[in-house]
Each structure stands twice: as C-alpha cells, then as structure tokens.
Symmetry: C2
Subunit: 326 residues, 2 copies
C-alpha cells in the first residue's frame, strides 16, 4: 500500500492533461467494463478527450451499461495520449490488443484490486482489500471530489455487484454495502440492473449447462469437481465465451468440493482454465502461478498450451498434489 499515489496526485494528473485513454483486461467482466465506463464518463464530463477501449469492445451482454456504445475496440493505427488508465488489470499485457494501439502515453495509471498486480504504472493505486476495482474508483471519485453522475453510478454498481457475486463473496465489507446504498440513492435501479446481470441469458446457455453437467467429473476424493468444454461442443451449441461465465459456480457449490475447475478448449490448441476455491486455506492462485497464470486466492485463471486432455491431466495432478500436501 505504501507506494499508492494519493487522490490529490491523481486529481492533478487529470486536471493538467487533456487526452486520455481508459482500458481494461481482455474478456472483460462487469468490473472491467463498469470501471472503464465510470472513469471514461467522469473524464468526459470534465471536458476531456477520452478514448475507452477494450480488445473486444463492449460485450453485447453489457450493452445495457450507460455509455456502452463509447467502448470501442482499439484502432489499427496507434494513437498518442497524455494519460493511459489501466483498470482492474493484474498484468499490463492483459489489455491485449489495446497495448500496441497506444503509440505513446505521458503517464500510465494503474488502478486495481488484484493482489498480484506488479504496480506497472507511473501512478499506481492498488487496494487488494477492495472487493472490486469499482469500489476503489467510487472512493477515489469521492476523495477527488468529482461528481458521480447517474450514468457513472450504474456502471460502478455493476462493477461492484458482479465482482462480489451480488454482495456475497467474502471480500464484501460493510463499506461495500454502504456504497451500494449510496449508489441506489443516486438512482441505481437494483432490480433492473440485476435482472440484466443475473437473470438474463440466451437459451443456449441452458443447453451448455446441461452438456457440462453430463461431463462433470469428481477427483481427489471428490474434493475437486471439474468439467471441460471442447471446441466441438462450443460449435455444436453455437455458444460464445460469454455463455460460460459463472457456470463454474454451479459445481463449486456441491458439498464437499474444495476446488472447482473449468477447462475450455480454445482455438489453436490452447486451453483456458478457471479455478475456484471454496476454502480460504486453499489458494488456487498458487496453482495458477505454476502454469503462468494468476488471480486471487479464491479465484484464479490460466491460459496454457493444450491439448485439452493433457492440460486437464497436468492441472488436476498439481491440485491433487497440493491438496495432499495441505
């Protein structure tokens, strides 16, 4: 925490510059896009010139976010900025195609809540106790005395709600609920946003769930539950990566399961692995780091070479060994 920038330093940087770009990680979640928009909209209302980029633009399922149309894919032609914000991104490379699109930035600002963040910015504000980067932004806006508009409030609410599993993960604090209350008083419509976030998915997601439940496997004395999604199934069901979000929680919830793992076969014989721990004493980030991944102790991820069956074997073996050693 010692080398976090002060809100005053950040406020000066904003006041004294004009051309901004705001970015977040590839395969953006609600915290990534909500923060990109909240910060971008904040800068816009201050009269700044702002680009909001994500490698994938704004995902269709987040198209209800106020200002979502402002989030663009990075341009082919690199651009120069006074300040580049990187939000909710544990490693700078995770902004993906946004990185080469920044020809130059006078200063990089890195605001994040991932404990593994290596503080890659010129200004860094990392608070690993915050359950969402959206909560950090809310507090920074308050401390910088910048107005939080209705549109910003919606985006911050979505950021916080999605990264806390709707105010229920262990990282949720009394302050998180207080911020929830403040955002609702600002006009956030909880029911409408939650319905878009949690109660709305295409029918193919149900088919995917059925397919995954049929492939569910228990290992390590039933303490590990895992399933794998092949490219073949993805094609057969016509699913997109978004359809998978949160499905891992369904298997994590089975009693006795300590670790839930979701293997997703990607194009080019790569495999994306999502890891979830249910036990604070069991740190899945350590497993992820063994394979070049990262994240939090209870939720981590890996991108690794395939083929799928080999990736499954290697990761499940590493988990089995570490569970045995625990």
């Amino acid at each position: 925490m010692s080398d976090n920038c002060t809100p005053a330093q950040l406020a000066s940087l904003i006041r004294d510059n004009h051309r901004f770009v705001v970015m977040s990680h590839v395969r953006p979640d609600g915290d990534a896009l909500g923060c990109t928009l909240a910060m971008g909209l904040c800068l816009r209302q201050l009269g700044k010139e702002v680009a909001m980029w994500n490698e994938e633009g704004c995902l269709e399922k987040f198209s209800f976010l106020p200002g979502s149309e402002l989030v663009r894919k990075p341009p082919a032609e690199p651009q120069a900025f006074d300040v580049a914000f990187v939000l909710d991104t544990a490693v700078r490379d995770r902004v993906g195609a946004c990185l080469p699109a920044v020809a130059k930035a006078g200063a990089w600002v890195n605001i994040d809540h991932h404990i593994s963040n290596p503080r890659f910015g010129d200004l860094n504000y990392i608070d690993s106790a915050a359950p969402a980067t959206g909560e950090i932004l809310f507090e920074l806006f308050r401390k910088m005395e910048l107005p939080v508009t209705y549109e910003m409030a919606d985006n911050l609410y979505v950021a916080i709600s999605t990264d806390t599993g709707s105010f229920q993960y262990p990282s949720t604090t009394a302050r998180t609920y207080e911020i929830g209350a403040e955002l609702v008083r600002m006009g956030v419509n909880v029911g409408a946003l939650s319905q878009r976030l949690y109660e709305s998915y295409p029918r193919r997601r149900i088919e995917l769930l059925k397919s995954l439940l049929n492939a569910l496997t228990f290992t390590s004395g039933d303490r590990v539950a895992s399933f794998a999604l092949t490219q073949e199934t993805t094609r057969a069901l016509g699913t997109i990566p978004d359809d998978n979000e949160g499905l891992i929680d369904t298997i994590r919830a089975v009693q006795g399961v300590v670790v839930a793992v979701f293997f997703e076969e990607l194009a080019g014989e790569k495999v994306r692995v999502s890891l979830r721990s249910k036990d604070p004493r069991y740190d899945v980030c350590k497993i992820a780091q063994q394979f070049g991944g990262g994240g939090h102790s209870l939720a981590a991820g890996i991108r690794m070479p395939g083929p799928l069956a080999l990736a499954q074997q290697r990761v499940l073996k590493a988990i089995d060994e570490s569970l045995a050693a625990n």
Copy 2:
C-alpha cells in the same frame, strides 16, 4: 399501512408479558427461520420464556443459524401463551401444525411483508414495501431500542439476504444495503453465511438440475418456461423438498421468458406450483389466487389438487390466457 401497530405498542406488549411463542410458515425459507430466531433470541435475552416453532423444526440446511437448535416442531399437547408471534406468514393457516398447538394466546402479533396479508393479528405490522420480514424486524428492534446481538444479526442477515436473492431483487432498497452494512459492522461474516446459503448443496441437487433441464418445456410462444418434478424422480434421486429451492431461477433467467413455473408432484395426488414473473407488468399472484394460492406479484405459489398433468394443463392455460389478454 394505517392500522399498523406502533413500535411503542409492540414494546409494551413485550414488556408486559412473559410466555411467548414465535412461529412462521411451513416449508420455511431463510426469512421465515431467520425471523423466528431473531425475534425468539431477542425475547430470550429480555428474560422471557420463549417457544420457537416451525412445522418442520429447523431445516438441516439452516442448521448453521445461531440458535437453530431452539427451533422445534410444535408439540402434540397444545400450550397456552401470553403472546403468539406469526412472522413472514401471509395467511395464518400457513403456520401449519403450529396452529393447533397453540391452546390459547392472549394476543396474536402478525408481522409480515406480504401484500396479500389479511391482517389476522390483534396487533399487525405489515409493510409490503419491505423486501424481507427480516428488514421489518431490524427496524422494529431499532425503534423499540432493543439490542441486536451478534446472533440476532446473523439471523436477520440471512432473512434479508435470502428474500432479496442476495440484495438483487427489485424490492431491494438503499435502506436494505444500509442495514446490510450495519449488520456486517455488528459482526456478520458475509462470506461464511453466503457460502452456507448459496454455495453449498448436496450432489443430488446437481442431478436434479440435470433431470429438470431435460424436462424443460417452453409454451405461450416461448414466454413461459416450465418443468415438472414427479414423485418418481424424487424417489429415484433421493431428493428432499429443499433440494428444489431456487432451481426455478435457472429457467426464469432464459431470455424471452416472462413466467417460469415449477410443478412439484406431492404425496396424495397434490401439486405444489411455484410461479415467478420477470416482468413487473405481469402479476403471477393473480394467477395463484385463481387457484387458491397467493404471494407477491413477482413470486407466488399454489397448492392444488392433481393429478400432475391436469394441474400443469390448468395453470399453463390460465397463464396463456392472461398473457394474451395483457
């Protein structure tokens, strides 16, 4: 609201009496049991003699609630009380076997948030704007200046969290989040309670989900999604009624679905029907009332005669007609 009792009236009634019974509805949910315990523990710490009853006792899945062992099935021999509390119960009969176990009560107190509640108590406190009866109790404890202990806080948190779908249903207000913050400051462990509530179920529930997804049916131009659970499947999977809780939300979430319906075949050719609406303009309580049921506009229930296939036909037809007329 005009004939709600005042907190002062309620405080007097508590102060001036000694033998209390606290009850809630059959097939209790988190709000029912959380309120029974919060009120019961409150009365106990005031030195009162308190019985806490539920037709089913405390469900095993709620055994983590502080004081859960105090919730008993009603005794065979009726007992007399000074005051009988009925909490979170839309119709007095819904306390089930608790009712005949009350030989006599000097006063009935009815505290609830169901809009259809006919105010059956001697003292009534009905607030249909409250998302949970637990929220009403919290406010009443505050207004009566009764201390909220750590054990009461846990129970109130569970009551509010479960009845708001973890702070996300449209009924959730800024005040709900503020109460969440207050309860967390009192010592509620959000992660631990939420894990018990939302991330812990027996493996047979996953098998049940798989079975139900295979039986999923879309009617009324795909605006109604329904599934039915037969006694045969219940027996084959060894499931208990609790295993079904919340499964309806999985199908309600499918895009385009306005109404989700879950038919559960009970013993004796009876059928339990759960109805959920996703559209505030479509009131499923009206459908439930056509068949002698009740509830809220977005969540209602029916117990009706079978056989299962006939119940399905009748209810789906009524929904189809009302959707067409809407």
